[in-house]
C-alpha cells in the first residue's frame, strides 16, 4: 500500500511540474507578451520598455525557474490589473467555484445513481429508455445554452430564482444544475453497466441463495462493488468541472475562479492566468490522486496483497 502511495505521489508531482512548464510556455510563446501588455497603441520603444520592466528579455528557462521558485513559496506575483498579490485574489474566489463544483457533483450523483440502478435492474424497460434518452440529450446540450434557457424559464418566467450574480444558496441552484447536466450521462451509463455486470456475478447469486432481502442484495452487495469505477470518474469529473466552470460562471455572473480567469484573459492579466491554470491543474491532480486512494479503500484487493 505504501509503495502504491509513493508511486502515485511521484507521478502526480511530475505531472504538476510539466503542467506548470506548459502553461508558462503557452503564455510566453503564443504571442508577444510584451506587446499584449503594452497594448494595441504602443510604439516599438514602448514595447521594449515593457519588456525590460517585466524581465521578459531574459532567457525563457531563467524566467521559468524564477517564477517556479516564487510560486513554491505561494508568491505568484502581482496582478497587472488589480495591483495586488495574485494568490490571495484567487483564494478569495475559490470557495465560490468549489461550492459550484461540489453541488454539481452532488446533483449529478443523486440523479444518476438511482436512474442507473433502476435501468440495470430492468434493462430495456421504459426506465432504461428514459435514462438513455436523458443521457443522449444531456450530452448534446451546449452547457451555456442550457444555462441561458434555465435563466429564462426559472428566472424570468417563473421568477423562482435570481437570474445572475453571486450570493446565497439560491444563486448556485441554476449554475449547479447546468454544470451537473454534463456529468449525468457518463455517471449513469457507468452505474448501469457496472450494476449489470455485478448483478450477473456469482457472489450475488450466493447472496440471494442466503435469502437476503432484495434491498440488501442491491445496496450492500451489488452497489458496493459497482460503485468502485464510479469513484475515479467522479473525481475526474469534479476536476473537469472546476476547470470548465468558467463558462457557467460567465453565463451566470458567478464570481468564482473561472470568472476571474475569463476576466484576466480578457484584460491580459497574465500572472493571474498562469496561476489559475496551475492551481486548477493541481486540483485535478489531487482529486485523481484521492480517487486512487479511495479506490484502494473500497477494493480490499488493491489494499491488501
Amino acid at each position: 500500500m505504501l509503495a502504491y502511495f509513493i508511486k502515485r505521489s511521484i507521478v502526480a508531482l511530475l505531472v504538476a511540474i510539466t503542467v506548470s512548464i506548459i502553461s508558462f510556455m503557452l503564455l510566453h510563446v503564443s504571442g508577444d507578451l510584451a506587446q499584449s501588455l503594452a497594448g494595441p497603441s504602443a510604439t516599438a520603444s514602448d514595447i521594449e520598455q515593457v519588456r525590460k520592466a517585466y524581465g521578459l528579455d531574459r532567457p525563457l528557462a531563467v524566467q521559468y525557474v524564477d517564477w517556479a521558485r516564487k510560486a513554491l513559496r505561494g508568491d505568484f506575483g502581482e496582478s497587472f490589473f488589480l495591483k495586488q498579490p495574485v494568490f490571495p485574489i484567487i483564494v478569495q474566489r475559490l470557495p465560490v467555484t468549489m461550492t459550484l463544483g461540489v453541488s454539481a457533483l452532488a446533483i449529478a450523483l443523486v440523479v444518476s445513481i438511482p436512474l442507473g440502478i433502476m435501468a440495470a435492474i430492468r434493462p430495456n424497460s421504459w426506465i432504461d429508455r428514459l435514462a438513455l434518452t436523458v443521457s443522449v440529450f444531456g450530452q448534446a446540450l451546449p452547457s451555456f445554452w442550457f444555462g441561458l434557457l434555465l435563466m429564462l424559464f426559472f428566472g424570468v418566467t417563473l421568477r423562482w430564482l435570481p437570474v445572475s450574480g453571486t450570493g446565497g444558496w439560491e444563486y448556485y441552484v441554476m449554475p449547479a444544475v447546468t454544470l451537473s447536466y454534463y456529468s449525468i450521462p457518463a455517471f449513469m451509463r457507468l452505474i448501469r453497466a457496472g450494476m449489470m455486470e455485478v448483478l450477473a456475478s456469482d457472489y450475488i447469486r450466493t447472496a440471494r441463495a442466503k435469502g437476503l432481502r432484495t434491498a440488501t442484495v442491491l445496496f450492500k452487495h451489488a452497489l458496493r462493488n459497482a460503485v468502485i469505477p464510479l469513484v475515479a470518474v467522479a473525481a475526474v469529473q469534479l476536476g473537469f468541472a472546476l476547470g470548465g466552470s468558467i463558462v457557467i460562471e460567465a453565463v451566470f455572473s458567478l464570481h468564482g475562479v473561472g470568472y476571474l480567469g475569463w476576466e484576466s484573459i480578457s484584460r491580459a492579466d497574465f500572472p493571474v492566468v498562469q496561476a489559475i491554470v496551475l492551481i486548477l491543474a493541481c486540483f485535478y491532480i489531487v482529486l485523481t490522486f484521492l480517487a486512487d486512494m479511495l479506490n484502494a479503500v473500497l477494493d480490499p484487493r488493491i489494499r491488501i496483497g
Binding site: S201, D202, T206, A209, K210, L212, H221, R224, I304, G305
Partner: protein, 335 residues
Amino acid sequence: MTALLEVDRLSVEIPLTIGTLRPVRGVSFEVARGETLCIVGESGCGKSLTSLAIMDLLPRRARRSAARLVFDGVDLTSLPERRMADLRGNRMAMIFQEPMTSLNPAYTIGNQLEEALLRHRKVPRAEARERAVFLLEKCGITAAGERLSQYPHQLSGGIRQRVMIAMALMCGPKLIIADEPTTALDVTIQAQILHLLASLQREFDMAVILITHDLGVVARIADRVAVMYAGEVVETGTAAEIFARPLHPYTEGLLRCIPVPGRTRRGEHLGSIPGMVPSLIGTLEGCAFRNRCPHAFADCAARAVPLAETAVGRSYRCLLPPEARAAGALEAATS
C-alpha cells in the same frame, strides 16, 4: 414418513431467438430426511437448473412450472418471493461450484457468515460470530477466529469452499443442495470436502442433494441416485443398485466409460457413447437417447417414454425391459 422434498414434473423453459429451450423437462424425484441424493449427468443435462429451479434462483427470463414442489410440507410453487427468501439460506441452503467467485470481495468472510444468520434470526452479533467460528472449525478451518477478519481473495480455493459450506450451515438447514462443489478444486481437496460434507450431514442430520458429473463422487457419498439426461430423469435407485445393475442404456453406457477396479480387465477399451445430445429447443419426439442407444427400435421415436417403476424408489425410462436388453447384448456378443 413423508419425504422432505417432493419434486413432481418440474420443468424449466427459456425463450430464445430461435425457439423455446426446455433444459428441464418433467423432472421428478424425492429426497427423504437425512439422506444423500446424487443427481448425476453430463454438462448440459439440466441438473444445475433443476437445483436453481427448486430454490427459485433461476435467471429472470426462465419460467418454472411443476405439478408438485413441496419442501417440508410447504408448497413452493405458490409461495410469494418474500416467503421464499425466508426459506432460502434458512431451511434450505445451496453451495455452488466456483468458490473463487462466490464470495463478495468487498467484505470479510466474517461479515458474510454472520449476515447469513442475522438475516433469519434475531440474535446479537456476538452470537452470530460465535456460531461462525464454531462452524468454520467444524469445516476444518484452523485459527477460525482470525480468519473472520480476512477477505476472500486472501484465501485458497479449498478454504473458500469450506467457508461456503459453513455459510450454508449457519441457520441449521434441513436440506443442502450442493452443485458440483468439488469440480473446481484439486483432486486431493475434493476427497476432503466430500468427506467433510458426509460427516456434517450425519452430525446435523441434514438431507443433501449433491449434483455431479463424476461417478466416483456418487460411489463415495450417495445413498440414492437420480441419473439425468437431456433434461429428464432417466433412472433412479440406490447407489448400490445403480452400480450393480443399471436399468437404462445411458447409465449402462456411463458405467462402461469409467474404469472400475476389479471389473475392468487390463488392456480393455473403455467405452464411449457415440453421437451427441439432441437439441433441447422445441419439443422432442420420443426418447431423447434413441439416436445414441445401441438398442433403439422403431417405437423409441414414436412416443414419449414414461418412467417405469420396478420397486419403490427404483425406476427407469426405457421401453425395453432390462432382461430383453441383456439378451440382445448376449446375442450381439456371441454372433
